[in-house]
Subunit: 246 residues, 2 copies
């Protein structure tokens, strides 16, 4: 398994990582490790950067001059499954939650799309990134998901590669077994999951989906799911069919 050791702190950094090369700690990380977790010099911390794999590192120095030195390579770098997550942004805490969950479920990118019924016009991308990184740290994700700037739905659809399947969850879709639908879908160079806003897609948006060459309208049962729940549920099905749960 990717991570069974929950007691060792795990940190994502921007620096290159190599054995015996100390990584100076940013002030927030130094404060977290030394003051919040009260780690002492010699303490073990897991380090990754999304490029060089994962290392066990040893804490040295004190206060603002603290550093982490990789002492053992634990995992080689992995590439994420080709699973993109397109979503109508929600407000505040629900957006934080949705970003964390999508990353935890293994999405390689977070792509905000502005649909006609999307209630959120401005997006704090730094906060989105921070939520994504935190989810990586906590759940043993070894890559760093791409964070995209918001696009209109029209622009996102126009830019979508033809060899990638786009799956959209639609509360008005006729009830149909999602496993059968996914089994029947052809293998693709990648898969995008599109989750609309609370309130769903409008008719013009639905029509634009049906004009796409490689699209699957997925039913998630007879009840309405909240957007963040639908995201986790659909990503589970997609990971099992196309991703790295196989």
């Amino acid at each position: 398994m990717a991570r069974t050791d929950f007691t060792t702190p795990r940190l994502c950094v921007d620096d290159d990582l190599a054995l015996d090369r100390p990584v100076p700690l940013a002030p927030e990380a130094a404060n977290y490790l030394q003051n919040v977790l009260r780690l002492k010099p010699g303490a073990r911390v897991l380090l990754f950067n999304g490029r060089d794999g994962e290392f066990a590192a040893s804490l040295s120095g004190e206060k603002k001059r603290a550093a982490l030195t990789p002492i053992k390579k634990l995992r080689e770098q992995e590439t994420p499954p080709p699973l993109d997550y397109l979503f109508a942004p929600l407000k505040h805490a629900r957006l934080d939650y949705m970003a964390q969950k999508a990353v935890e479920m293994g999405a390689r990118s977070l792509r905000p799309v502005l649909t006609r019924r999307t209630q959120v016009a401005r997006l704090n991308l730094e906060r989105l990134e921070a939520n994504a990184v935190e989810a990586c740290e906590q759940c043993g994700v070894i890559w760093r998901p791409e964070i995209h700037v918001p696009q209109s739905l029209d622009a996102a659809l126009a830019a979508w590669p033809q060899d990638r399947l786009l799956v959209f969850c639609d509360e008005d879709a006729p009830l149909a077994n999602p496993l059968d639908a996914l089994r029947a879908a052809p293998d693709a160079a990648g898969v995008g999951l599109l989750i609309g806003p609370e309130g769903g897609f409008d008719e013009a948006e639905r029509a634009s989906f049906t004009r796409m060459p490689n699209v699957l309208r997925l039913s998630l049962g007879p009840r309405i799911l909240r957007a963040d729940t639908a995201a986790v549920a659909a990503l589970a099905l997609l990971q099992a069919r196309f991703g790295d749960w196989r």
Copy 2:
């Protein structure tokens, strides 16, 4: 679909429901409808009680003497899919969230089980019930999930009916396609999903699962999922295989 009308408030009550028979409002409900939502007499509210189906009702009276009178039956009562949710309770907000999500995903019962690594010993069952009811109201669930008192894991396993499949998610399970595992599982009189605490099951617990006649150890991919995420992910797979998403 069960619910596309998100603008009409939806309320779960204890009273029997029948056409033209007014239901007096409890003080909290009266306050919510009249003061928070600022509804006026004649306003439309959806009503269900888990037994008599769902009705459109009309608000009448004022202040503490307000009532809702069913004026049209919208849905017949449905029975839930035979999907029970057994879980090691988490703390506070995460437990609220987990209960809401399980109900939203269609679990017919919430059964807290105390495993050896469970950190939470006491459980506020009224709060669990309130979270479950709120999820029913918001997501168009028409039944009321059973809320069980906490049991030890041993007691829960001993009481588990032999004709029901018990699925447990295990972060130490070898990576294997969950769809294949579920497809191979025989049809059962019902399915229970058991999600352990953060930290997982211990060896003695795992051994006790393997002695059960009808059990499936499910892998949810190569990363560790938080307990509430694993619950939604696994319930999606189970709904698609055994439940009412087919």
